[in-house]
Symmetry: C2
Subunit: 302 residues, 2 copies
Amino acid sequence: MSAALIGVDWGTTNLRGWAFDTSGAVIARRASPAGISAVTDGDFAAVLRSLVGEWADGRTPIVLGGMIGSRQGWHEVPYVACPASTLALTAHALAFDTGMGPGWIVPGLSCIGGDGVADVMRGEEVQILGAEIAEGVAILPGTHSKWVRIEGGAVRSFRTFMTGELFALLKGQSLLGRLMEEGEGDPKAFDAGVERALADPALSALLFGVRTEGLFGRIAPHALADYLSGLLIGTEVRAAPEAGAVTIIGEGALVARYARALGLADGGREIRIVSGDEAASRGLCRIGMGLREGHIREGWSA
Amino acid sequence: MSAALIGVDWGTTNLRGWAFDTSGAVIARRASPAGISAVTDGDFAAVLRSLVGEWADGRTPIVLGGMIGSRQGWHEVPYVACPASTLALTAHALAFDTGMGPGWIVPGLSCIGGDGVADVMRGEEVQILGAEIAEGVAILPGTHSKWVRIEGGAVRSFRTFMTGELFALLKGQSLLGRLMEEGEGDPKAFDAGVERALADPALSALLFGVRTEGLFGRIAPHALADYLSGLLIGTEVRAAPEAGAVTIIGEGALVARYARALGLADGGREIRIVSGDEAASRGLCRIGMGLREGHIREGWSA
């Protein structure tokens, strides 16, 4: 089976591929745990071939996004500075020979915050593109959650919160994890955490409350992780850009947590949810279609 | 050599003892790494004997403070609720037989914050007492830093920040540590971290800046840990009670960091520094002298 276009989202810990027909419809998909950190011999070509080789006929364009374009990836592609449009992503994609046909790696984005500190993303820019947001805020929850301001279809600015990484560290390695027990989720404990974080920005003090709330039996051991999650996500919502509709890009329970926290902060806010998987495949397809139409060769840029 | 009074600060990871004469002067001191987490067989009496046994004549009072009074310690002593005076600490000390003379374990303190969440300390209350602060704010930097409001010589309220634990986790186990290299300290990077945290409360976003400042070469690898330290300590200073003179209780470089961060926030603030070692020994001595004078038996309380 030969595809018109192949899209690949290649992150640190996983790898997903889609085959598209000429209309951009997904005709096949595959996933693998071979994220770039698992490719220790640097033979990215072999991993790619095993994932999408049977869809390629030697001429099928393959568009790759994510950490595959980082220093630890196949070929490093410089970040494109915000504000950045769809066309900027397409124009700055790095063309190379995949060994089974022409390939392009989508660049990540960088932006400088109001405090002069740089921020970066790789992979999320493809999902944002796929979510087709004209104006507003996109949230991409995860290890490093991104809050993205979009204006006129372009990424204006963004900010990263280490929420997922902090949650895993604090639950797994800190004093806070010692009182925690596994169990069913506790929405009330999550809400309490969000409310506390909305009312008080001193995160490193709020975190110690996870211990004392457990110590004094005010939050049950199985609910402490939810309380911690609420504190961390509430901290994001508190710092969030105030105006505009919100699109949350991701899956399942984590997306529901962000929707809930946003609702607790402002019940009237318009919230749209887009599957992260769908956003990635549609974003890769849009970039691929642009490349096929020859935007690169015509020298389009931001 | 027999002492008039023995004081012991017994924490999670270390143990310190002092012998006092009848005037309260220190006549001998010893330290050991046998914190309560190292006493896996629960034989606290044997550890105590090896540390201070030769100072005790069977009647010498031994006053113990710190995590030795926790659930994981020798005997659990309930927290005393704030506001709590010196006399409250003395009156609620737990009397027991150490096996080499009469012993008392000093209770820890608890308080309920404005948000209804409890906070706790064990050991710091002895140091606060030893620092002899009438009015103002005491800061006790550490794994779990304490900011303490003192009024009329009593502990009115306090708040704990997980600064030291977060620093160790983020440096040792997170993505942020990967770009860090050991080297001389960099005061400018520390100052930059403090300034950022004073200007912006979104700690979980500021933390990601440690990565990007390293990634873009704006802060050198050997200076990134100082920048991280500045962000965490700056977060404390930002959340700090505004009014009053500050006493920092602790040692060396860490105390200097807090003094520097306080100065960056408010150059006019009065800062006093008290050695943590001295504060602990003086606090234990004051409680011991109170017990010797029979305050407990006369039924004094808060």
